[in-house]
Assembly symmetry: C2
Homo-oligomer: 496 residues x 2
């Protein structure tokens, strides 16, 4: 609270960085090659609406864009710069930006401390000194900022989603930032802001976390951290932010070999596994093991109520899935409450006999059980007070076999995924219990691309009803367990 004024000033600067009215890209070659022209293409493709200027000392044009020979020649005010010149030219370029009154710059160029050379470190030190005199810097050796609302995007990111959301992601690694951007697009995770900060000469984990903590657009924070600059400061801010918003952290480089890779990757210090894990736990952060778990956890936080989950119901066709449901639930601290005879009989009313069972998991005996039956199953199962969430498992590839048997050309036409999504939404509405879809993909041969297309369409249909979709039952339960642990932690903190 004592920093309110300072934050207010800073937020004005951050506003110019994340929502710039004008952007200068410095280092655009006149050929479609290199970081500069790449980011110009990407900004145009994603639909950046502000003024966009390109700079190249030799002038010329890139596509239809006139290139200015220097920053000084650009007549209009500039909020944000993208620097894509060779490392040796970065300091003077940044200094020009600073003099020009630009609020911040992302430096995409590599060739700094991550090279492990004295020259690289000296250049980075120079960049740091210039930044300290009055211009905020993201990078160097990074992919920059993605902010769909303002139309900023990462270096290789012309095809990220244009839709805004509420997940903020901070990543030392450019690769992780773009990979999560891509995964989020189809998985249903939408971002407020993504920052790939690379070597993090100025803006990095702590200050950016603090900013996302007060950013009203950001409700969920995800981070890929290789090392932190100031451990004490970071954990103080983390504790503070995690008390208000979920902060999901993937810490890379916890092994000996991982630490070594960190050193050459983004030139920051790693740290021992035990220390990190206990410090993150104490700070109330949610720890995940890899990018997929990070993405799926963000999906769960995006679409499911933040509450404690204990019991779940699971239904689907194919008994082994039911058996593994119990095993997996136990692994993730969840349970499948056993339905009593009355409930079981009521559920069985709509399922094929013999072959179905309905003690929880509900084994529907065949994969073609339809929307009306599942509406019935989940409306009843969800009325059990011990059930906190409900999971449907669908194996869509069976519909292709059915289409072949029936002589139907399009597997889409006989697969009722829209209606299944509606049935789940109806049951959720009737019971107040959130619904989850699990859609394993067992057929990934080239001849099954139509099934893949079906799965992708079905995923969007369920997402359209606010139902998160996972490829694997274990993944779904793991993500649910993270939401649950967060809610339990918040509850305990409030009680204390």
């Amino acid at each position: 609270m004592e920093c309110k004024v300072a934050h207010h000033d800073q937020d004005h600067v951050f506003e110019r960085i994340f929502h710039p009215r004008s952007v200068a890209v410095i280092g655009v070659s006149s050929q479609a090659a290199g970081f500069g022209s790449g980011i110009v293409d990407a900004l145009r493709a994603i639909g950046f609406q502000g003024a966009l200027y390109g700079v190249n000392p030799k002038g010329g044009t890139y596509r239809d864009m006139k290139l200015f020979t220097s920053l000084a020649d650009i007549p209009d005010p500039i909020d944000f710069a993208v620097i894509a010149v060779p490392a040796g030219f970065v300091p003077e370029t940044l200094e020009e930006c600073r003099r020009r009154g630009i609020a911040g710059a992302e430096i995409l160029s590599a060739g700094f401390s991550e090279t492990g050379t004295p020259e690289g470190s000296a250049l980075e030190e120079e960049v740091r000194r210039i930044s300290a005199r009055g211009i905020r810097v993201v990078g160097p050796n990074c992919f920059g900022i993605y902010c769909p609302q303002s139309g900023l995007t990462l270096l290789p990111g012309p095809d990220l989603s244009r839709e805004s959301g509420h997940v903020g992601f901070l990543s030392q690694s450019g690769g992780m930032s773009i990979d999560f951007g891509h995964i989020g697009k189809w998985m249903g995770v939408r971002f407020s802001k993504v920052v790939s900060f690379g070597n993090g000469v100025d803006l990095r984990e702590t200050e950016l976390l603090e900013y996302l903590g007060r950013d009203p657009e950001t409700r969920v924070i995800a981070m890929y951290v290789e090392g932190v600059e100031d451990g004490r400061g970071f954990f103080r801010v983390l504790r503070d932010v995690a008390a208000r918003k979920p902060v999901i952290i993937n810490k890379g480089g916890l092994s000996e070999a991982g630490s070594r890779a960190v050193a050459s990757h983004t030139a920051s210090m790693g740290g021992s596994r035990v220390i990190w894990e206990s410090a993150l736990r104490q700070a109330g952060a949610i720890q995940v093991g890899d990018l997929w778990e990070l993405a799926q956890t963000c999906l769960a936080f995006s679409l499911l109520p933040w509450q404690v989950y204990r019991g779940i119901s699971v239904a689907g066709g194919g008994g082994a899935l039911g058996v593994s449901a119990g095993d997996l639930a136990e692994r993730y601290g969840l349970s499948l409450p056993v339905f009593d005879d009355q409930m079981s009989d009521r559920i069985l009313e709509v399922l094929p006999r013999p072959g179905s069972s309905a003690r929880n998991p509900v084994d529907a005996a065949n994969p073609f059980v339809g929307p009306d039956a599942y509406r019935h199953v989940f409306t009843h199962a969800g009325s059990d007070a011990r059930v906190d969430a409900q999971v449907l498992i669908q194996l869509l590839h069976h519909y292709k076999s059915a289409a072949l048997s029936l002589g139907v050309d399009s597997v889409h036409s006989i697969t009722p995924y829209e209606q299944q999504a509606q049935a789940l939404a109806d049951a959720r509405q009737a019971t107040g219990k959130p619904a989850i879809l699990v859609m394993p993909d067992f057929k990934q041969g080239k001849e099954s691309l139509d099934i893949e297309e079906l799965i992708r369409d079905a995923r969007q249909a369920f997402l359209g009803k606010g139902i998160p979709v996972f490829s694997d039952l274990g993944d779904a339960m793991q993500a649910l367990s993270h939401v649950s642990a967060y809610a339990a932690h918040q509850h305990a903190s409030r009680e204390a």
Copy 2:
């Protein structure tokens, strides 16, 4: 050894079951619906070459197949029967088969002890008594036998691979058997025999394991076990077989809820997690947690040398992958030996600078590094005595971005996956160190189906060179660690 003669007699029976010259399907309705007509379609689709007869008490025809009104009317000898009549008619049908001198029958019908009813259990008991009088039975409540060499296939399995291989799979669950069949087809796992034995009234885990143990077609055995009938006998056979062949086991129903699902699924007894895990370990079996891990482990055993793996080299474009490589290796008991300056410099000769690093993991800085460079990288890295296997990580979706930038229509035409596969095979040849490909799929939106197709084609190109392909680096290391643990166990047993 004392059972040689008994085995020989049994093997004659097994030969008639797994390689029947003639099959009768009993319970074929004249419409294309039901298990009977389904299995007829499946057997024809997969190319069963023997004589195929259909039986229906009402006679008639199914497609172009004349249906016999009874088994007795079929003039020729019959080796194997598929029973797909309602549960109540199964005993008399099986008895007819026995009288007819049929060696074995798979009973696809459900409605036996898995229903939990006295009627179901009584029917099953009757089936058991008939079987004991001289006909081997697979099932009931199962999907039957898949044997590509003879053209037998599972109930819903017209599209399983026709290629034979050396993995035998035994599964109490029909769902698991067909799912693994589908996964194996594109993943590159080829089967000798798959048996879904359901309630296992006669042939089940122990005897089938013993049979696969002496089956020369089967080099690797995989099992999905929910419960065993005779624990002592099973573990005695398991220990014996596992001393000669890898036996990979996924035990379902280890949790309380899982055990309950087992009871209604295949009517067998589960057992506590601790007892199972320690017994399986002592017997020398390889334990896996789910179907995916089972399949990937079979892939590794199918394509990689069975040896102890300690150090691995990892190369790819995108630094964060390198960081996680070290973390993951540690998790799976592997390591990434640090390359010395000389090696690192030699590797860097062919990689983009700045941005690349080559201490292991080898971070190639961009995803378009080509086959010649990787041939160089792996030929050198593989010459390090501490490296036992080499992993390439490829992110093919970047080629689509490149195709778009270049204005090229087909992403296939600019993606050198054939050459990358050849480069890895060359390096394997030059160094004697096995190669592995990891190909994550970060773009699963509908607009990226062309990338999906590319990934599927690339997978087959690498498989064609005998290089196993995984979607996830952690999965690859986990599978490798299972092979390594098996080899270490075999080595220790020989020493003892």
